[in-house]
Symmetry: D2
Amino acid sequence: MSTTRNRLFLSDNTAGAPPEVVAAVAAAAGEQSAPYGSDRFTDSLRGRLAAVFEREVAVFPVSTGTIANSLGLAALVPPWGSVLCHPESHINLDECGAPEAFTGGAKLVGVPGADCRVDPGALREAVRRGAGDAHSVQPSALSLSQATEVGTAYSAAQVRELAGIAKEAGLAVHVDGARFANAVAHLGASPAELTWKAGVDVLSFGATKNGTMTADAIVCFDGAAAEQLAFRVKRAGQLASKMRFHSAQLDAYLADDLWLRLARRSNGTAARLAGGFKAAGIELLAEPQANILFATLPDRVRDGLLAAGFAFHHDRWAPGVARFVTSFAHTDDDIDELIATVERA
Amino acid sequence: MSTTRNRLFLSDNTAGAPPEVVAAVAAAAGEQSAPYGSDRFTDSLRGRLAAVFEREVAVFPVSTGTIANSLGLAALVPPWGSVLCHPESHINLDECGAPEAFTGGAKLVGVPGADCRVDPGALREAVRRGAGDAHSVQPSALSLSQATEVGTAYSAAQVRELAGIAKEAGLAVHVDGARFANAVAHLGASPAELTWKAGVDVLSFGATKNGTMTADAIVCFDGAAAEQLAFRVKRAGQLASKMRFHSAQLDAYLADDLWLRLARRSNGTAARLAGGFKAAGIELLAEPQANILFATLPDRVRDGLLAAGFAFHHDRWAPGVARFVTSFAHTDDDIDELIATVERA
Amino acid sequence: MSTTRNRLFLSDNTAGAPPEVVAAVAAAAGEQSAPYGSDRFTDSLRGRLAAVFEREVAVFPVSTGTIANSLGLAALVPPWGSVLCHPESHINLDECGAPEAFTGGAKLVGVPGADCRVDPGALREAVRRGAGDAHSVQPSALSLSQATEVGTAYSAAQVRELAGIAKEAGLAVHVDGARFANAVAHLGASPAELTWKAGVDVLSFGATKNGTMTADAIVCFDGAAAEQLAFRVKRAGQLASKMRFHSAQLDAYLADDLWLRLARRSNGTAARLAGGFKAAGIELLAEPQANILFATLPDRVRDGLLAAGFAFHHDRWAPGVARFVTSFAHTDDDIDELIATVERA
Amino acid sequence: MSTTRNRLFLSDNTAGAPPEVVAAVAAAAGEQSAPYGSDRFTDSLRGRLAAVFEREVAVFPVSTGTIANSLGLAALVPPWGSVLCHPESHINLDECGAPEAFTGGAKLVGVPGADCRVDPGALREAVRRGAGDAHSVQPSALSLSQATEVGTAYSAAQVRELAGIAKEAGLAVHVDGARFANAVAHLGASPAELTWKAGVDVLSFGATKNGTMTADAIVCFDGAAAEQLAFRVKRAGQLASKMRFHSAQLDAYLADDLWLRLARRSNGTAARLAGGFKAAGIELLAEPQANILFATLPDRVRDGLLAAGFAFHHDRWAPGVARFVTSFAHTDDDIDELIATVERA
């Protein structure tokens, strides 16, 4: 199931990779290099991330977002700890228990909130629950998805407030940034303001969904966690001998703000899609903030799109509700073609 | 530390990737595709492996050899099991306990033998030790490195004998094939004869050292292990959303016997190096069977090579002993230059 | 904080042990014996349990209910599995993640229902959620608390219905029987009908709360789980060298129906307490089915009881709500004294 | 297999319990008490241990020595750590991988030495092996058995030397004191000198083999480890609700130096046995320092003893070698009867 026309809206992971990333990989292929990160691509990556985040950071290139989340959390919580997260979060529902596996069995505890954002009031209660009681798991980290699983973003102020509640109670703060680029592009806030300046200790710096092939990074703002990660990464089978290939992808992804340009593109096509839907009388569940759009499709519209070869998830959340995720690979033409199909139906 | 001249003999992982692999990755980058392995590259890979192994196999592309070993073993042994392996094996010494981590704490028990090969007599004793006794870990799997960490290979008959001892005692059989291609190229035996026909249940099909960038594969000949691996792979953070990029590398690696041509090249340069050393009066510890060579270097030779920019591990195993690992990237000219430097010293 | 007057209603674990159990332990102390369960007390225990359950069972004496639950579940679910249980269940809230620890990181998934009982409709949905999807933990076992954490019991028909839903979907069935005796005494059903005849695979046969000192048992009706448990028990540090001391407690607990007589006593004092409260105009949240009673106490009554030295948990579930747990050690006089204190307040 | 005549020399765990321990348990059975260690027996135990060790200690009563070792080590080493121990140590060979399970997969690395004692020179090498290298497990703790598995003891000076080597390299120090009492009784050194004054962080304070029924204790001299243990103990299913029953056993065991009197008795009967063997011309492998004796028995002597109902392990270490372990329950008469049987054979 492959296509050169971009009719897949299942997820942004259906995209390939932009030419800049391909070129970087090809360059890395053409030379000998010391293994395990002692190479010029990884060096360059470190420098670029320091610039992006306005400070030195510890970076660990890894092969998936799931492992980035799981190792990042493992460095922050003990086996008897709990991770407070939204009940609908990816770490809770879609990683087959990987966070539990790598933390040694820590517990993910749901903290509800509207629009897939953790609610501050609910968090205030959750951080105290069972604290100090040996019969209970110990609240140890807050994990936020930025952007969230429904495409909403936390503002810098919101991250600060939630991280503040966590920090005051002694919890660490983790961000699952599978779509961090889309959130930054939408919010216009600086990566620093959205992370360490707001109290974030470890960030899963997602890249695969927005342009790399098989490379994400753990970006660590906390020294003790970074020390652990040096060993945790190897022990997880993530210390790639030819790490330069991961690093080269990430390096190209960051060069010349490519990552933000790609995210603006997918945010833009999502907005274009939203506009088209509304013009065609299709109801949106919310205005998209990133590159994810939920809409209520009449049956004949849904069926018309499917018949035309468009692919998207539907009738999973509620009857009639469909989800469209745009990627950097989608063009305005792809969107317009979809809208035209809607209008015909 | 990067170089376009191939003076690194530290490990075969210093090589980049051949043009065929780069081209495959570039092709995968140019199109949309369904995620998680439902793509044409993974389909093609499955077909090629079935041809290589002369039967259907379950294949799980992963990002490192360490994770291939660890997950493969985890699918074969319970947490209270033991893995019998050579004391010098990579899984025992060089993976920071990753096999222990993914098996839930199984124990690696050393079974000695000459030339880094497990000795049949020692294995016969080890498979019985503590069996059925709740106070002892239970011998559950044999793991062989093919080729071994010192570059020797197990013949098909040797694999059959050892696997037979294991199987008769109820143990499963795993092969760490980080350099499987080099062993196949050296032995001239078929991949089938060296694996499932000899009793092997799970193979870490190494590719990174011999030509891919960041892709190895778990090749599974056992149905029950394959069922587990579907979940273990995800839970380990190894179900890559853009799996096609791993698969495309492996697919190109297998096409037109590229993998064997590359392995013959590195085996050949190792042999050329051995010949050059001997002609120069340098003593070898053994004739190389694969792409690894141990030699006893006089100090002035060692120092001359280092001064000329050659890199290799030395004085780690015994005073004066140096290890040279060749890769597909080394050319005859690279070898001749090294030998010339030796002769000058 | 110890008292010879029975004014503690915090939990049934405040009781000591009846003379029969003390005598059995004293007998075991007076002789040499082979270790690890090869002794006459463990032999006798096996026979008694076979009689109680009307079939051969595998029995593993352990030192706490938490370990009984955790090991029992570990023998039924893979690390990527989920345990379906009531959100208020002890395994989910009060064991500091021990089930997660021993299962290798399985996930506890709440299935709601009134009166702390799992609802059949909710279970029907939960057993299918994510089944076969590698991104999701796999529903692997149902765990029921019998009696529940609020003192309600599942009838044999209810256990059959819930176990049937689980079994049909391929899940195993576990019962946390910390207060199994109280449930049996209340229901008048046979232990067999409440367990294996209804589809239960593994039972945590609780005894500590109802008469032993530090001994519970895993009772296993499933052969494969029993094989695993032989090793899991040792590996958990629960293969007591002087196991006879655990077995002797359990043996005496079962002899001459002592366990049921003790449970009837605590159920009876709970009923007497309920009657006294009602006569005094105190509102009960529900009629007690076992030995747990929830009541809404006016502040002056609560304070009067506390001032008189009575101890019980209060204002934890809702303002004004207090919980009283009776044990075999409470006498009618103890209850009457409490009621008299209520009436005075 | 039980006997009131003390012909079992398989292990000291064949003994029952002395009257003082039985009486303490009976006392604890007769009263209500708050659970989880808030009781007068646990309070008293804490005081007695503080007196024995000449300082405040954190104490965690547990049900077996295996769990004491495993949790103690888990509080000292990370999952990627290694525990340096004698290859013949109980934690390495006889606990079915429990230390690996509770540490999250740490590796036990053998450090050889004569008489089952870790050799200082070998330890000096081992503490450096792989330190700081992410490919290798990290040497994190030294574990010594006191007395060792062959009944030898480490002098205070020996513990100091070995602990000093470990500490200087940044490792923690653990002692498996399954037979700590026998070592103290033999050495005449103070418990403080043999532990924290010599650099020991955590001690498995064994009691079951020397007089309690099912109670050992983790004695912790390190604050950070103690904080972890509060949660690790619960999560391991070792926070007994009726902890007073464990504490009462240990309390009685310590009162009036009972523990040392019992150990002197078993050391004494071992010495008597050694003397008898030698008088009868039986060769000892070494003079016993504690309550374990290895002797080379002619076949007819071995067979004569077995025929007379004596039980002991033999032909396990080397042909003809038998092991005799005495306990507090053995009397001089028991020994003399055995010797008489030897002389007859």
